[in-house]
């Protein structure tokens, strides 16, 4: 089987995978990083979003081997070593931005990409439009949008 190595949440990792192994499978099954979810497996729901070299991508639509040498960040990589939540995570908690929590890792990783592309002052319209690729089955969008606006602001501090 082909070998693959990459940096995940700051740590170098490697493993043997089939060529068809998806990045999300590698993260969940090889590395046991089960924070990244699979909601649809058809590239639509965004539950599997991680950052590949700093850019948000659907890890169910990316092969592990495509990430050879890449730097990956998952939801597990956001909080500080002492457990202090990332401001965007904290904002989801403060604003009740999750219900069952299934979509939340993807929402937060996508939210950080929205900040990367659009800055820290986000209006509601921008956030809603940019969340096009993330589905919340609990349909708690109102508070997700509030959380992202608040999290983005705190990140600027």
């Amino acid at each position: 089987m082909p070998a693959v190595s990459m940096t995940v949440n700051g740590k170098p990792v490697s493993g043997e995978v089939e060529a068809r192994t998806l990045l999300v499978q590698f993260l969940r099954e090889n590395l046991r990083l089960t924070g990244t979810h699979v909601g649809c497996d058809t590239s639509q729901c965004g539950a599997c979003v991680v950052h590949i070299n700093g850019i948000a991508a659907k890890s169910c639509t990316t092969l592990a081997l495509q990430c050879e040498g890449a730097t990956i960040t998952t939801i597990e990589g956001l909080a500080a070593a002492d457990g202090t939540l990332h401001p965007m995570q904290e904002a989801f908690r403060d604003n009740h931005g999750l219900q069952c929590g299934y979509c939340t890792p993807g929402m937060i990783m996508s939210a950080l990409d929205i900040v990367r592309r659009n800055g820290n002052e986000l209006d509601e319209h921008t956030i809603r439009e940019q969340l096009d690729g993330n589905i919340c089955r609990c349909t708690g969008y109102h508070n997700i949008v509030k959380a992202i606006a608040a999290g983005a602001k705190t990140m600027a501090r």
Partner: protein, 266 residues
């Protein structure tokens, strides 16, 4: 997904060599069309040849009176490219309207055009601007490139390297987005470059992207939305599915063409 072997060439020549040695191989760009199809086991390539390590395949530059976009340029990068926005904001809006942000972060112009999905956005811009597709073997005019649903003029072993868009003074894209998939239920790209006027339609035709000559003739008299007033196209040859009837798609072609011309002349 069936398994395959995986290759990461660093030059176009190496990629072509791999294709020649693996007749059942497929090129992999962003993977956002190919991997979903492989998951459904509708495609079973023996090998995937990943183009992402090839240097210089993702450049975006103005060359004389053309905007030249590398095959591996991602939708998000083309949409926000200062070069493309300065030359033709109408062209930048095309990748900007594709799918969702994560899809735009990965999908490429080369993959989109080679795939020639009948509802894809880029084919409308490529045909609607009379672009030239530059491969490792030759240059192909847009009018010869798209040959029906998922079919192009690309031959075995041929790799798109870049796409050259002539800069048009007026150009705009209007898309009726399918609310769930994000693809174009119908999309119309219009352009005016001197006396060359083009109206290209994606999403509507059962044979993929096409030009509307009757609209182009009407716009030659005056490039204004008014010139298309009351005009429509016949419903024969239009797609019909649970999302929209052939008649509705034909109707949308007229509506979106008028909106696109209005946008291009605003």
């Amino acid at each position: 997904m069936y398994d395959f072997t995986f290759h990461r060439p660093t030059t176009v020549r190496q990629a072509a060599g791999l294709l020649a040695r693996n007749p059942e191989a497929k090129l992999l760009a962003g993977g956002h069309s190919l991997l979903p199809v492989m998951k459904q086991r509708l495609a079973q390539p023996s090998a995937l040849i990943d183009l992402s390590l090839i240097d210089g395949l993702d450049t975006i530059e103005q060359k004389g009176r053309a905007v030249v976009i590398g095959a591996m340029a991602r939708h998000a990068d083309v949409a926000k490219s200062p070069v493309v926005i300065a030359a033709m904001p109408g062209l930048a809006s095309v990748p900007g309207s594709v799918g969702d942000p994560q899809v735009r972060n990965r999908g490429t112009i080369g993959g989109s055009i080679a795939n020639n999905d009948p509802n894809a956005d880029y084919p409308a811009a490529v045909l609607g601007l009379g672009a030239t597709i530059i491969t490792n073997k030759r240059r192909i005019a847009a009018d010869d490139f798209f040959q029906g649903m998922y079919t192009t003029a690309l031959e075995d072993g041929e790799i798109i390297v870049k796409v050259s868009f002539p800069v048009a003074k007026k150009a705009a894209y209007e898309k009726f987005k399918h609310p769930a998939s994000g693809f174009a239920l119908v999309g119309v790209f219009v352009s005016k470059r001197g006396s060359d006027i083009r109206v290209a339609v994606t999403g509507a035709g059962s044979n993929g992207v096409f030009r509307v000559k009757s609209f182009e003739e009407a716009l030659k008299k005056r490039f204004a939305a008014k010139s298309l007033e009351g005009m429509s196209i016949p419903a024969t040859g239009m797609n019909a599915d649970i999302h929209a009837s052939a008649e509705y798609r034909a109707h949308l072609v007229g509506v979106l063409a008028r909106r696109a011309v209005a946008k291009a002349t605003a």
